[in-house]
């Protein structure tokens, strides 16, 4: 066989490979070379690229951002933060939280609370309308809440957020269809009676479960109404194409006035948000830990657009206080003192996230600035461990964490290393995917777990009572302390705000001292916002956030 032939065949193969490579590069728009930052340049200008990226640059009053498909837009059943972010724009309730997490009127223009704190009388704003223009009446409120509670709706959260109303639990448990404690006085007035004078009741109504839905729409199209929901919020769902684009359009007759920002366009197609941000295809984006170094560098051009906001959320290590060895408070305290949280925050988290100084985060009423947690003290920790009843016969310990298959997070690794170095205790790490993790957590199968808590409403009750009251269904720590229980019960109905917060501060201090948890970090949002976007703030909780934004691109 001739050499020429060999060459020819090799040539054909090479040409084919080169042609393919060239085609790929051409298709990508010549972005094949260069470094990572510019690699997707021009990808967006290809005609076949998702339509989301082709919006006209001259358009004003439009905010463009990345998003993912909401799982469900029904406020009564949504449980995930991703869906809630859309729901709080499309729907609204009687009351709302402002940027400072203060209660403000929404569909209800005012309300009165009876002297005994049991009865709330709401007066609806006569200008409140659904997005199809129909005025909101008290009957809509009744329908929305009874629907949320009805077992056929399938809401996990309804009893949590509406269950304080007399008779609400009868509805959620299928014993009644109407809430006996809810009385319609006229079209615009209704009264609600609670099972106890709970000062945090109004806060619970700011959560989507209690938002208003359009009964006519739901009755006409019970299964698919959320594809074009008729809410009472400041934005209408104008378009939602799965995996491509979601568009919110302002509803100018909103009871609180027409939103300044007219259009919010979410690109749902995925990809590198930072690249898209730099290319000017989106106006704001969150920043992951990997890119933090860059945006925090004062010499980087992105640094001027970098913002960070605290979230009402905490990352912690929880103990099952019922099982060996964490039934001994000394062991828990030793573990708490043996973790160098400051160093982990500095080195592993690049100083991006503040160390928790207690259980309650800044912004939650009752928060205090002093450090309530155990300082890093390896000597003392060792000593406590030696005094504990498990000194010398420490059982095997496993730390559980949700997240499957991936490598263990560097934070968890650092914590476990701290325990090994400072206490000489080898803690195993067990990762479980969410389904298994939660199921095992519910059944108290873990000795200790790395997890977080996100506040649903800014009241200490939403954390302390739910997670530490001995018979609470969500008491994952199996924590039981009659003294704490008594205080939590008192705080539930204490009408004097100062006294009430003082009780919670006391409870928090006691819990931290008893090392019921190791509070690790307060969560923080890191983000980039283009300078032409005015008035945008990342709220510390999931609340409406676009109304006052101006975009002058």
């Amino acid at each position: 066989m001739s050499n020429r032939l060999t060459l020819a065949i090799a040539g054909v193969a090479a040409v084919l490979i080169i042609v393919l490579a060239v085609v790929l590069i051409l298709v990508v728009g010549g972005g094949g070379g260069g470094d990572k930052k510019t690699v997707a340049d021009g990808g967006s200008s290809t005609p076949a690229a998702p339509a989301a990226k082709t919006s006209s640059p001259a358009a004003s009053g439009e905010l463009r951002l990345r998003g993912s498909d909401p799982l469900v837009l029904d406020p009564a059943v949504a449980e995930d933060a991703g869906s809630a972010a859309y729901i709080v724009e499309i729907f609204s309730g009687l009351v709302r939280l402002d940027k400072d997490l203060k209660l403000q009127p929404d569909v209800a223009e005012r309300w009165e609370v009876s002297a005994d704190g049991l009865t709330y009388t709401f007066h609806l704003n006569k200008n409140a309308t659904f997005q199809d223009g129909r005025p909101v009446t008290t009957d809509d409120v009744k329908y929305s809440w009874e629907r949320a509670l009805n077992p056929d709706t399938g809401s996990i959260t309804a009893e949590n957020f509406l269950g304080d109303i007399v008779g609400a639990k009868d509805v959620s448990r299928g014993r009644a269809t109407e809430i006996s404690g809810l009385k319609i006085i006229d079209d615009l007035t209704l009264s609600v009676t609670l099972d106890a004078p709970k000062p945090y009741f109004l806060y619970k109504l700011t959560y989507p479960t209690g938002f208003l839905v359009d009964q006519r729409q739901i009755k006409a199209n019970p299964k698919r109404w959320t594809q074009q929901p008729n809410g009472t919020g400041p934005y209408k769902l104008a378009k939602w194409k799965l995996g491509e684009q979601l568009v919110l359009q302002s509803y100018d007759n909103n009871v609180l006035g027409a939103p300044k920002l007219k259009t919010v366009t979410y690109d749902l197609s995925g990809g590198s948000a930072l690249v898209d941000y730099e290319d000017g295809n989106i106006d704001l984006t969150g920043v992951g830990l990997d890119d933090l170094d860059r945006v925090q560098d004062p010499n980087d051009k992105l640094n001027k657009e970098y913002v960070q906001t605290p979230n009402e959320a905490i990352d912690y290590i929880g103990f099952n206080t019922n099982v060996k060895p964490f039934d001994d408070p000394k062991v828990r305290q030793a573990f708490a003192m043996a973790v160098d949280r400051k160093k982990i925050a500095e080195v592993v988290l690049k100083g991006a996230i503040p160390v928790a100084n207690g259980i309650l985060m800044p912004g939650v009423p009752g928060y205090t600035q002093d450090d309530k947690t155990y300082a890093y003290d390896p000597q003392k920790a060792k000593q406590l461990l030696a005094e504990s009843k498990y000194a010398g016969n420490m059982p095997e310990i496993t730390l559980a964490e949700s997240g499957a298959g991936a490598t263990v997070g560097p934070t968890t690794e650092a914590i476990v290393q701290n325990w090994k170095d400072n206490l000489g205790v080898d803690v195993k790490i067990q990762q479980a995917e969410d389904a298994t993790f939660f199921s095992d957590l519910d059944q108290g199968r873990y000795q200790m777990f790395h997890i977080g808590w996100v506040m649903d409403y800014p009241d200490p009750e939403d954390l302390l009572d739910i997670l530490f009251y001995s018979t609470s269904r969500q008491n994952n720590s199996r924590y039981s302390n009659p003294d704490i229980d008594k205080k939590l019960e008192a705080a539930r109905t204490e009408q004097d705000t100062e006294k009430r917060l003082a009780i919670y501060r006391d409870v928090e201090k006691q819990l931290v001292q008893d090392a019921a948890w190791i509070p690790m970090f307060f969560e923080t949002t890191h983000a980039l916002v283009k300078p032409y976007v005015k008035g945008f703030e990342f709220p510390p909780m999931i609340i409406e956030r676009f109304r006052d934004v101006e975009v002058n691109r």
Binding site: M1, S2, R4, T6, A8, I9, V12, A13, L16, L20, L24, V27, V28, G31, G32, K36, V39, A40, G43, T46, A48, A49, P70, L71, V72, L73, D74, V77, E79, D80, P151, D152, G154, S155, I156, T157, E159, N160, S172, G174, R224, T226, Q227, L242, G243, E244, S269, G270, G271, S272, E433, D434, A435, F438, S439, D440, D442, W453, R473, Q474
Partner: protein
């Protein structure tokens, strides 16, 4: 061709049976495993009593066999694939459609690349039979074939993204973007050896045929002989045989590739649905993939029958 029609019919009759067995196994295994969709989606709201109520609403508290009966009744009588527990605003076909599109496109890219590299390699190896180049080129691709996609993907990411910074390390910027290059490579590398070896075998067979000798005797140069006479006659069987097998390999590889790189196709979606215990979506995806698998195999066999009468006469049992 009455025998052929009967054959197709017989093969197609096996499809429902296959689907039935697969659906039952999937249905049972998913529901039997730990956790359930209600508990996963409720996130930090751990209220066992509320879980029980919602489970009851969806009939998840019934015995699995009874749930299966209800599901099959809905599927067979109304074509109802059930509800997604995750995407509760949408029907399952609605949610799956955009994912299928992405996966099919990724598969197509990988498929084309496999053949573009595999066939010339095989022909080259055949022509070089007897020299060290023959085993060498085949071995190179056999090496890639022996590495699972699970390993190929991180290696490619390490090389092209972490070290060279040529390509993004993951994510998805649309079907026409650099983010598609690593998945395409990962998916095709494993299949090239198969195509090359088959192309080599058929080329060797063709090289010994009389018409090749005739062509050479006519004084045609080697390039024309190989290009026009040999390749044309050896490539067709390679294509048809391997299309089906590649579809299977691609489906398998797509699960890992999409999951590791974050490509929003059926593979990633299936993985997310398994994590979220979205029972009905898992089942629908599995049935979809099974159907694609069975049909791909059928098409291959039919193609072989059309090409090669020997197969037809033997009732379709001869496979490459």
């Amino acid at each position: 061709m009455e025998g052929l029609a009967g054959y197709i019919l017989r093969r197609l009759l096996f499809l429902p049976l296959t689907l039935l067995v697969v659906s039952f196994a999937t249905f049972y295994i998913t529901r039997w495993g730990p956790g359930d969709p209600i508990s996963v989606y409720s996130g930090q709201y751990r209220d066992p009593e509320a879980f029980a109520r919602v489970r009851h609403k969806y009939g998840l508290d019934k015995p699995i066999i009874e749930q299966y009966g209800i599901y099959m009744k809905g599927l067979l009588l109304h074509g109802d694939l059930g509800e997604s527990y995750r995407y509760r605003d949408r029907t399952i076909p609605e949610v799956l459609r955009p994912k299928i599109w992405v996966s099919v496109r990724l598969g197509l890219y990988a498929f084309i690349l496999t053949f573009l590299i595999g066939i010339p390699t095989g022909v080259f190896a055949a022509v070089k039979q007897g020299s060290w180049l023959d085993p060498f080129v085949i071995s190179v691709f056999l090496f890639f074939q022996s590495i699972p996609v699970l390993v190929t993907v991180p290696m490619l990411v390490l090389l092209f993204a972490a070290k060279l910074h040529w390509l993004p390390a993951g994510g998805f910027d649309g079907l026409f973007s650099t983010s598609m290059i690593i998945p395409t490579l990962a998916l095709s590398l494993g299949g090239i050896a198969g195509v090359a070896r088959l192309a080599r075998a058929t080329t060797l067979g063709t090289l010994g045929e009389d018409f090749v000798r005739t062509a050479r005797a006519k004084g045609l140069d080697e390039f024309t002989v190989i290009g026009r006479h040999v390749v044309r006659n050896s490539v067709v069987p390679v294509m048809t045989t391997l299309i089906g097998l590649s579809v299977v390999g691609l489906l398998e590889g797509a699960l890992f590739t999409e999951t590791l790189l974050g490509i929003p196709g059926v593979g990633l979606f299936l993985y997310e649905s398994v994590k979220g215990r979205d029972y009905n979506v898992i089942l629908a995806s599995v049935l979809l993939v099974t159907t694609a698998f069975v049909i791909a195999n059928l098409v291959v066999d039919l193609a072989l029958i059309v090409i090669d009468p020997r197969v037809r006469d033997s009732g379709g049992s001869v496979r490459a």
